[in-house]
């Protein structure tokens, strides 16, 4: 990946087809990520301690209070997917006894460990000093860290987030979580890190989070414009990287999101569409809302199937897996532990199915989309179980057509390009036909 040539948006139009086009914000992000991986892999030398934890339920502000580095196995799995090594990792995990049926995120991680635990920068990942099992919206996370615990034999802290089964956050839930934070999570982190907890430091971190969150929301909501200056799924995945990962609560994140916002606002002012790996996208022909994670092993191929047809994603649920901010929630420094609890509870997949449907319907209406596309992920029961009903309900309520494709996050065996392309093409042609039918009728 480091060898690809990179061009600024201006140069995009002139760039020969083979080059991958990246805008400046992406470059900045790449630097941030690279720096983070370097911090992690040099931990043995610097003596920094490492906490492994998950994206949904990521307590980065808290982790930073203990001078711990945050290593997120999901992000590593994504990197491995993009770098096309996850396939062999998954296979490795299956060879050492994991079932073909289970989540490939876990298997990619386990396989990576079995094959030497090499980070994207080519150096070895440090072993975690603590597994912070703060997870939300998926049971698999729990098994995942039990498996890692077996391997690393290190301290493991459980923070259990109840599910929003009835669509509301109750006081009982918040109390339960705050109590876990106060009496289990924080004391253990203090012990592992040797750093005393300072609630003011947490407040500072939270304040920084909410600033970046504001800008992120502005960026994502820019897609309401026509044409949309961003792709809120394929592009969106880059945008959420820092804030869902190890940067929420840092100055870096504030800088990045301000920079990103300006870039997007500039495109917006100029009436430009999104930047794709092949340069500026052509005319915006279809506006879609997407539910479900992407496929990382054939990410660009997948994306190309959209932008080649002039389809832009204007809103997606995947960009809410590490926190839902567009309905007003911000990390609130005035109630630091409660706000962390509330954040965990509100993550997309921790919302009940009816809530998820409401969100999608709302997106279709507010972003004036032509329809819903579901990319159903074989790995992920948390997302996928129930998507077929979601599809029906959204169609029923919006009157807009939906389409369904299937793939996997990081297992290349489950990406059938021909199959997906066939469905997408049919879907786009169907939207066309409907439109012209509607015109003819009018």
């Amino acid at each position: 990946m480091t060898t690809v040539k990179v061009a600024t948006p201006k140069a995009a139009a002139r760039a020969p087809a083979k080059e991958v086009i990246k805008d400046a914000s992406m470059l900045k992000q790449k630097e941030m990520m690279a720096a983070h991986y370097d911090r992690l892999t040099s931990a043995p030398e610097t003596g920094a301690k490492v906490a492994a934890t998950f994206v949904p339920g990521n307590l980065n502000e808290l982790v930073m209070c203990f001078d711990l580095l945050n290593n997120l196995p999901e992000v590593n799995a994504i990197q491995n997917g993009l770098r096309r090594v996850s396939g062999s990792y998954v296979l490795e995990a299956e060879k050492i006894g994991h079932s073909e049926d289970v989540c490939t995120y876990v298997k990619s991680d386990i396989g990576m460990m079995a094959k030497g635990n090499i980070a994207p920068n080519g150096k070895k990942f440090p072993n975690p000093d603590v597994l912070l099992l703060s997870y939300t919206g998926c049971f698999t996370f729990m098994k995942w860290f039990e498996l890692l615990r077996e391997q690393y034999k290190c301290e493991t802290i459980m923070l259990h987030t109840p599910y929003m089964g009835d669509g509301k956050i109750t006081k009982g839930m918040i109390d339960y979580m705050v109590k876990q934070l106060r009496e289990e999570v924080i004391p253990t982190l203090e012990r592992v890190s040797g750093v005393k907890f300072d609630i003011d430091r947490l407040r500072e971190n939270l304040k920084r989070s909410s600033k970046a969150e504001d800008d992120l929301v502005r960026v994502l909501q820019s897609a309401k414009a026509k044409p949309s200056p961003i792709d809120a799924y394929f592009g969106g995945i880059y945008y959420i990287g820092p804030i869902f990962g190890a940067f929420r609560g840092t100055q870096d994140a504030i800088d990045y999101y301000r920079f990103l916002r300006e870039e997007v606002e500039d495109r917006l002012a100029k009436g430009q569409g999104p930047v794709t790996p092949d340069g500026d996208m052509g005319k915006e022909k279809y506006r879609l809302v997407v539910e479900g994670p992407p496929n990382y092993t054939s990410f660009r191929q997948f994306w190309k199937m959209f932008y080649d047809e002039g389809a832009v994603v204007v809103a997606s649920s995947y960009t809410k897996v590490g926190g839902v901010y567009d309905f007003g929630f911000r990390h609130d420094p005035s109630k630091p532990l409660e706000t962390l609890a509330e954040y965990c509870l509100g993550v997309y997949t921790n919302r009940s199915l009816p809530m998820r449907i409401d969100m999608l319907v709302n997106y279709i209406n507010e972003y004036e989309a032509d329809g819903l596309l579901i990319n159903s992920i074989k790995s992920c029961n948390s997302f996928s179980a129930g998507q077929l009903l979601m599809m029906r309900e959204v169609e029923k309520r919006t009157g807009k057509p939906a389409a369904f494709v299937e793939s996997d996050l990081v297992d290349p065996r489950y990406f059938s390009a021909a199959n997906i392309k066939n469905r997408l093409e049919s879907y786009f042609q169907m939207i066309d036909q409907k439109r012209s039918g509607a015109n003819a009728a009018a």
Binding site: L388, R392, E395, P401, A402, F404, E406, Y414, S416, A418, N419, K421, N422, R423, E425, S426, Q429, M430, D432, Q433, K434, S436, G437, N439, A440
Partner: protein, 443 residues
């Protein structure tokens, strides 16, 4: 005359439909999809032309109706034509087989193979007219299948008589058939029509008296050129076709439109093809509103029946009728195409009846299809069943049952030409494209 061609390149069969300017289908052609899609497309469209010729004959001979029994005459003519075609391909196959055995693998077995082959082909040729006798039932419509199953029978006998391993002769066939299939069909159609006509005139005294008139009318029809004005391709293989984007439509749209043309009141379409199953909802203009397809597992598609037929050494055409004899379908749980064979054997060995097992397998396919339709939004009146499996009466019976149980009284349309639905839709898209509605909508 102007014709509009729709080609549906399916995973198992390739279909072509010829429309005239007034949207009348004048010809249908089908062939099995083989490794060479371009050839398959060519064969199918040639078959459609052949069929179109018959339509033209019918039109031309319309006046002579009464003098001759038109239907029976055209039937004879068609059979004679098929026989001509069959014999021609048989010759090709024989030459290819002989070519094969020059290779070293067969050298040690020596000339025995060659003479045995000669014998097999002699028997094949001898019985060929029976295959095309009036009322004869053929196992399939395709040369590969017809010639194959007969070849197997004769080869087994001949091999036994000559003391040769049967597998050897089988292998020669397997090696050759793929080549023969992939050879573009040999040229001049008109000549074949003339030869066929000769055969009919000779063998059927009833038309002798009108022979001269008939010949004249046929010649006139043969003189009409079926111009390929516009062509649209669709189906599984469409991406590999040398068509440009304007000439390609998604098979979903084509099936929707095709079903609409056949039955304008259709709202729900089910298509079960060789390796995919689609549930499609269309509006009053034939525009697709929603669709669902099977996922990446091909369980429960048409190919499933193919496997079963192979497994039981039966023709595809024979499965349905056998399953119809059951009134107590077995409950089959594995719809995995390949495992179905194993389950079949399992159950046979447990003493279950073939008919019941087969009926159960048909039901299993239908249940899967129904769940796909259900994903796409259920069944709304009227319902049209398309694709190759719609030809299977047992599948149709189960489908009717399940629909009745779950959706009540729904009009169910099944067209004898249901397998051509996609191609018909494509042909209509071609016609619309020619008349300037690029997006395919009707005015």
């Amino acid at each position: 005359m102007k014709t509009f061609v729709g080609i549906d390149l399916g995973s198992t069969t390739t279909k072509a439909v010829l429309l005239d300017e007034d949207r009348n289908p004048i010809g249908h052609g089908i062939t099995n999809s083989r490794s060479n899609y371009a050839t398959a497309a060519r064969v199918a469209s040639q078959e459609a032309r052949v069929d179109g010729q018959f339509t033209l004959f019918r039109r031309a001979l319309g006046d002579a109706n009464g003098v001759i029994e038109l239907d029976s005459f055209l039937g004879s003519l068609e059979r004679a034509f098929r026989l001509e075609q069959f014999l021609e391909q048989l010759d090709d196959l024989e030459q290819t087989c002989i070519g094969q055995i020059q290779g070293e693998r067969f050298a040690k077995v020596g000339s025995g193979v060659k003479s045995s082959l000669g014998e097999v082909f002699q028997r094949l040729r001898k019985e060929a007219p029976e295959l095309y006798a009036p009322g004869a039932k053929r196992k399939s419509d395709f040369f590969r299948d017809i010639a194959g199953s007969r070849y197997h029978n004769h080869a087994e006998e001949v091999a036994r008589e000559a003391g040769l391993p049967y597998d050897l002769l089988l292998n020669v066939y397997d090696k050759s058939i793929i080549e023969v299939e992939n050879r573009p069909p040999a040229g001049e159609l008109s000549e074949k029509f003339r030869r066929a006509l000769g055969r009919v005139l000779q063998s059927e005294p009833s038309v002798k008296s009108a022979a001269a008139d008939i010949q004249k009318m046929i010649e006139k029809a043969l003189a009409v050129e079926l111009e390929e004005t516009y062509l649209v391709g669709t189906g599984y293989g469409r991406v590999t076709l040398p068509f440009s984007k304007e000439h390609i439509r998604s098979e979903i749209l084509c099936h929707g439109l095709g079903a609409h043309l056949m039955y304008p009141k259709t709202r729900t379409v089910l298509d079960i093809g060789g390796q995919d199953t689609k549930g499609i909802q269309i509006d009053t203009a034939g525009i697709v509103e929603n669709f669902q397809m099977n996922d990446r597992c091909a369980a429960g598609c048409g190919r499933y029946l193919g496997y079963i037929a192979d497994e039981m050494n039966m023709g595809l055409h024979e499965l349905g009728p056998m399953a119809m004899q059951s009134d107590k379908p077995a409950r089959i749980n594995s719809t995995c195409t390949v495992f179905a064979g194993a389950e079949l054997r399992d159950r046979l060995s447990l003493g279950e009846k073939r008919e019941d097992i087969l009926a159960g397998l048909h039901r299993a396919i239908i249940l899967r299809a129904i769940s796909i339709i259900s994903r796409s939004g259920g069944i709304t009146n009227e319902f049209t069943f398309t694709g190759g499996v719609a030809k299977n009466e047992a599948a149709v019976r189960e489908l009717r049952k399940v629909i009745k149980e779950n959706y009540g009284d729904v009009v169910i349309n099944i067209n004898p030409d249901s397998i051509y639905t996609g191609a018909l839709g494509a042909a209509e898209f071609a016609r619309r494209a020619h008349f300037g509605q690029a997006d395919g909508s009707e005015q």
